[in-house]
Every structure is written in structure tokens, then in C-alpha cells.
């Protein structure tokens, strides 16, 4: 298993290299000139040239990529063009809010989502099933932006129970976590339900029931455990999306996270920050997939890694 893990990590490196090249080229090919953004609309051509030279943007793209790669391996990711802070200084303080929010959203969404799915599957075709699926479908259909604003109007403005934004206290996590997690809760709920329904038709579940096992044991030990692999796969993909896709919740609840930083940096054509962020998101996705693969072995010891 340890060997497998190391092999997987090693195989991620060439993948990241390819991603870094694609990201670099794409960013430099989208229209928009950072030198012009910094110098300002009223700047003359000469002023813009001076800035371009300062940023090294007048060199051929491949040479610039070479500098970037050299920096990447020596730990120097360059400076943000907005205010001269290093890229690491710019990104580091944004990590905590996004990660904290992702984790809190994921925890409640996973628990509630899976519970909803199991209940709906067990009570298939009955009232509880319909209620569960109405909740799930609402979670998918309601745009998170709108949900966030409504939660603020209800719980902050009208009831004055919770703060409108920021991450200063545990209470401030509640509304953004609900906003971020609603969609995932819904996806996991729907997915758990359909997987469970399939598993519950399997012969071994019927055998378990025939043996006279308690229904809860049948559901949890036989049906749920065998559905878990697929549920973990979907959950893993969702977490990956959460980290990079938290921009809506971060905007509505004024949270200084990675999503907002990415959007701001793209608008400012802050190439170095955008590159670093995209590479980080790619690495994070690869890492989560790796964790999911490792979890397969934990869930089902029959799975062997070669």
C-alpha cells in the first residue's frame, strides 16, 4: 500500500507539469494586457512599455515559462502585480477560510445527504421518500447565490440570530456552510438513494433478510456498506469542486477565500497568482482522488493495489 501511494504521488508530477504548461499558455493567450492594467487607461504607450519590461512580459512566452518553472522548483513563485506582495504571501492567508468552510460544509452535507438517501431508499415509495427527495431536489435547484442572500435576510436581518458574514465566530460559519453544502447534500442524497435501491435488490441482501437479521443491520451492514464505494467516489469529486468553487458563498458572505482571490486575480490579469492558484487546485484534485483510491481499500479489503 505504501509503495502504491508513493507510485501514485510520483505519477502525479508529470501530470502537474503538463497542467502547468497548459495553464501558463492559456492565461497568456486570453486577451488583456497586465501592463496596461497596471499602467492605467490614460498611460501612454511608452509608460506601458516600461511596465511590460519591469514584469518581464516582453520576453518570448517560452522563455517566460522557463523562468516560471525555475521559480516553481526554487520555491519562488514571483510577486503579485497588484501590490508587490509575493504570491505565497498573497495566497497563504486565503487558504484557511476556504478550507475551514469546505470542511464544515462537507461534514454536514455528507451526513445529512447520506442519511436522506438511506431513509428515502428504505422507505421507497412512501411519504418519507418523497419528503427526502423534495429536500434533495430543492438543494440542487436553488442557486447558492440566492440561497445565501435569503438566509442573510431571514437569519441576520429579520431574526438577528447570526452575523451577515465574515468568519469571526463559530456562528458565522453556519450560513455560508449551509449555502455551500446544500448542493452537495442534494447530490449525495440522490446518489445514495439510487445506489442503495440497487444494492437492496441484491441476492445477499435478500439472504440476510431471510436469515432473520434485524432490518437496521441489513440496511447498514449489508446494503449501505456495499454502496459506500460509489458514495465515496462522488463525495471525493464534490470536495474537489468545493475548494475551487466556493466563490459564490465567499462573495455573499464576504469571506476572504481562494475563490474570490481567483476571480479578482483573473480580472486584474495577475498572471502569477492565477497560475499558482490553478496549479494548487489541480494538485488538490489529484490528491483527493488519491485519498479516494486509498479509501477503496479500507472499505473493501478485497481491493488490492498493484
Amino acid at each position: 500500500m505504501g509503495k502504491y501511494f508513493c507510485k501514485r504521488v510520483a505519477s502525479a508530477i508529470p501530470l502537474l507539469l503538463v497542467i502547468s504548461f497548459v495553464v501558463f499558455m492559456f492565461i497568456h493567450m486570453i486577451p488583456g494586457d497586465p501592463a496596461r492594467m497596471i499602467a492605467g487607461q490614460d498611460a501612454t504607450k511608452e509608460d506601458v512599455e516600461v511596465v511590460r519590461e519591469q514584469l518581464g512580459l516582453n520576453e518570448p512566452l517560452l522563455v517566460q515559462y522557463g523562468h516560471y518553472m525555475k521559480g516553481l522548483f526554487t520555491g519562488d513563485l514571483g510577486d503579485s502585480v497588484k501590490n508587490g506582495k509575493t504570491v505565497v504571501e498573497t495566497i497563504a492567508p486565503r487558504l484557511k477560510p476556504t478550507i475551514m468552510l469546505t470542511v464544515s460544509a462537507m461534514i454536514w452535507a455528507t451526513i445529512i445527504g447520506i442519511a436522506l438517501g438511506i431513509i428515502s431508499a428504505v422507505f421507497h415509495g412512501r411519504a418519507l421518500d418523497y419528503i427526502g427527495m423534495i429536500i434533495a431536489i430543492s438543494g440542487i435547484s436553488v442557486p447558492s447565490f440566492w440561497l445565501g442572500l435569503e438566509l442573510i435576510q431571514g437569519f441576520s436581518v429579520a431574526l438577528n440570530w447570526l452575523p451577515t458574514g465574515g468568519l469571526d465566530s463559530w456562528q458565522s460559519y453556519i450560513l455560508p456552510s449551509i449555502t455551500m453544502g446544500a448542493g452537495i447534500m442534494a447530490v449525495l442524497g440522490r446518489f445514495t438513494r439510487s445506489t442503495m435501491l440497487e444494492t437492496m435488490r441484491e441476492d445477499y441482501v435478500r439472504t440476510a433478510r431471510a436469515k432473520g437479521l434485524k432490518e437496521t443491520l441489513v440496511v447498514m451492514r449489508h446494503a449501505f456498506k456495499n454502496s459506500l464505494i460509489e458514495i465515496v467516489t462522488v463525495a471525493g469529486l464534490q470536495i474537489g469542486g468545493l475548494l475551487s468553487g466556493s466563490v459564490m458563498a465567499e462573495t455573499v458572505f464576504s469571506i476572504p477565500g481562494l475563490g474570490r482571490l481567483l476571480v479578482d486575480s483573473i480580472n486584474f490579469r495577475d498572471y502569477k497568482v492565477v497560475q499558482a492558484l490553478l496549479l494548487f487546485f489541480a494538485a488538490e484534485y489529484i490528491f483527493i482522488n488519491l485519498i479516494v483510491d486509498v479509501l477503496y481499500g479500507v472499505i473493501n479489503p478485497k481491493i488490492r493495489y498493484n
Binding site: D42, A43, T44, K45, G84, P93, L149, P163, T164, N267
Partner: protein, 535 residues
Amino acid sequence: MKNRKKVLAALMAGVMTLSMNTAVFAAEDGYAVKATNTDAKSKDNDLVIAIEGSVSSMDPANIPDTNAISATRGCYEMLITFNENQELEGQLAESWEVSEDSLTYTFHLREGVKFSDGTDFNAAAVVANYERIIDPENKLRQRRTYVVAQPDGTEKFRVESIETPDDYTVVFKLTEAWSPFINRMTQFCMISPAALEEYGNDIMNHPVGTGPFICTEWEEGDHTSFERNEDYWGEKASVDTVTIKEVPEAGSRTAMLQTGEADLVYPMPADQMAAIQGSDDVNVLAADSNIMRYVTLNMNLPELQDVKVRQAMNYAIDKDAYIQLMYAGNGKPATSVVPSIISGYKEQTPYTYDVEKAKELMKEAGYEDGFKLTLWGDNITQDVKGMTFVKQMLSQINIDVEVLPMESATISDKIYVEKDEAEVNMWYVNWSASDFTMDGSVRSLLYSDMCPPTSANTAYFSDEEFDKLLDEGLATADPEKQAEIYGKAQTIAWEAAPWLFLGNDQLLYAAKSYLSGAYVSPDGSFNFAHAELAQ
């Protein structure tokens, strides 16, 4: 059960406020909405300001956005500044004089002022700050104010020498007369030389100035905090602390005002005004801005070469309707090529909305049946709305406009190209000159040398007399002479109609009625030095 009902009612209230249509609120005496509860009291003495954008820097010599101007002014001061009425007044300089030939500017500095690190403010500090700015190694944005890049790659310095005859006198000698110099000095902040020595360009993380507040924390993307400077040389600040919170979403900013988490929110979108109607202790204020809204007309296009066509297009636009539609009435139709707040502004004869006259002019120009044009602009909702309005108005005189919204950086790429590659027909755009000078307002937009790719004259307007007047205006620092020269220049540009002159919007901000002394300036920065919270 009772509680559940309350939650439901609250959610319903939320749905209703969000779906309400924009009502019309016009500003009177600076108030778009006036609070009825004028006796409201603040629960603490801590001012919280919620803003839309980001405070991207706390280095006053390297300012990327207007919010950074506002924030840095909490702890930094300049030699001179604009007061609330946009008049120049001394801040760290008690007085100043300009020589007859407009080449020498002498500032007499205030004595007994200390930086928040305890060191003295004096003439040497002014010199140290100037030298820091012009040092190319520091890569500071403000360097461009004092150093001009030339087409041949060399650089021209605006300041020939800076002398200090005594500890409290500074003399700037310019290489050639440049009238915007005095206005630009309102952006020249004094940083403690001792702190600069210690931190270098990391000074943005350790601000040390002479201002009424001391910056205690700057977390980019989240907040900037200040506390009162107890050793301030002037009248001490009234509030204990100030926190500038970055709240990008308008609905969330409004909610913060309603819950009392914020005392002032800026900007306040007109469409959010309905939401605060229920609060009796909120004022919505409107400040005149230096924003000029216009559409450039590429005068190289055969259809747009005739002045009659361009004037006809101006007559075909209902400017009042534009202000009503776009800014819920909080604005004014344009009355010159610059907003009235710019120094040297002169009111021009308006192109009053008159479709018949417009049609007649089109007929005289031989374009009775109209023609087709494209209109570029930013893809943000508000601009697309404005562009669509222009399209509808021009269709009345048979001009078929194709609206092409694009991301701003993409437009920038398409605009700054050589003349023979220029594809621009019309550009829906706005301009604000942060130094409030006429030169800063029009040179890069209308001077003949400033056509793309050099700068932003996308009308390709070229008028010798106009250029001459602008150069003359630059060479004199005498306000009366300037007014006469710039008055003529404005008339030339206004009558030639290189643009569709649309309007000047007002800046809307909302504050609790117990807050006084904090205001938004015409350049979009906000000032909280004299803020007071009624207790």
C-alpha cells in the same frame, strides 16, 4: 411553532425585498433617502465601513484602486489636500506659493508634527519620500507622476530639483511649467523616513504616517483596521476605531447596515434602496462625482466624419431618461466634455433631446436612411443596459447599432492597436480624472497625439486649436488664465461632438443617521477622518 412562523415570515420578507422593482429616488440636498429617526444612537464608538472592492495596498505611493486611496488616508497625510468642497487647502504644509513663471512651488511646512513612530516630520522627510518614489528600483506606480517615459526610451523628469532652505521649507523646481503639479501634490503622502529605512517596500505591511489614525491591521481581501492616534497634531479623531470591511455583494452590504454591523456602506446600488425603506435610521446620500459617461465616435469612419451626423446623434439621445434609467435619477446630463467638478469647467449649450432636429441634421448630411455601427462596452449588467439604451435612441434616426459587450481586458486589447488596424466604431465608456484637472480629464482622450495605441483618444479627434489650448493651459498655473483657455477648448470639443455626451452620475452611499462627518468624495474615495458616532 411560533418561532417557525417567525422564520417563515422572515424568509418571505426577504423574498419580497429581493424581488421588488427599483423605485425612483431622486437626490435632494445630497439625500436620496432621509432618515426619519434623527435621534438614533450608536451602541459603541467603533466605526465600521463596508465597501464593495478591495483595499489592495497600504502603500500610498503604489495605489492600485480608489479604496486604497481611502484607506491610506486614514493614517497618511499630504502637504496639501482637497477639502469637502474640492478646494485645495494645506494639510502638512501651512501655506504654499507658486512663482510667476509657474516653475517654482514653495511649501511652508507645519512645525511640531510627529510620525506615529515618534520621529519628526520635516523637510528632509519630504525629500526622502520624493526620492523613494522616483527610484526605479522601488517600482512604484506614483513614479509616473514625476517621470515621463519618452518614445525614444529615455525618461524626462518633471522636477528639476528639490531644495530645503530650512527644516520647514521645501522648494520644488520644475523642468517645465506643468499646471497639474499642484493637484497631484494632493496624492503625495508622507511616510516616516525611519520606517522606510527599516521596512523598505514592505512598508505596506507596517504603515507609519502622521494621520489621525494608526493602522493596526491590514488583511487584504477582508478588512483594514485603525485606532485613534492619540498624539495626532490636529484635532483628535472622535471615534475609537475604524474598520473597513470588504463586502463584495451589494445585498450583504445592505443587510449589514440593517443589522447595525456596519455604520456606512459604499457604494449603495440604486436597486437596493427599496430594501432599506423599512429602516428609519438610514440615510442614503448622493455625492457629485468626477465620472464622465460618454460614447466615443470614431471620426475616421466615413459615416461619422460629418459633424452634422455626430451632432444629430447627440440630439437623438434623451439624457434625462438616461439618468433616470441608469441611476434612478441620481445624476445629471453632461453639460460639457468634463463634469462640473473639474477645475476650469465651463457650461456648454446643451444638445437638448430633439428627434426632429436630429433627423433634419441626418438629412442634411445625406444619411436620412441611416447606417450601421457597432458599439463596444464592458459586459457588466449596468453597462449593457446603457448600451442598449443608446441603441434604442439611435434607432430613431435610422442608425442600426449592434451592441457588443466584452470583458474589459478584451476591449483594452482591441482598442490599443495601430490606426490602420482600428476596428472601433463606438465605445461606451467612462472616465474620471483623480487629480480633478482639465488636462487629466481630456488630454489622453482628445489630444491629437493620444490616439491608440499611444493612449485612449478612440474618437481619433484631432483639432490643432484644441491641442494648442491644452498646451497653453498646461503651461500656466494662474487659475483665471486657465479658466479662459480651458473654456475655449471645451467649446471646440463640445461643438465638434467627437462623443455622445451622456451624463455624470452621482455616487450613492448609505449611513446610519447617528453617523456624521464621514463622506464620499467626487473621486469615489471616502473620508472618515472627522467621523463622529452619536452616543
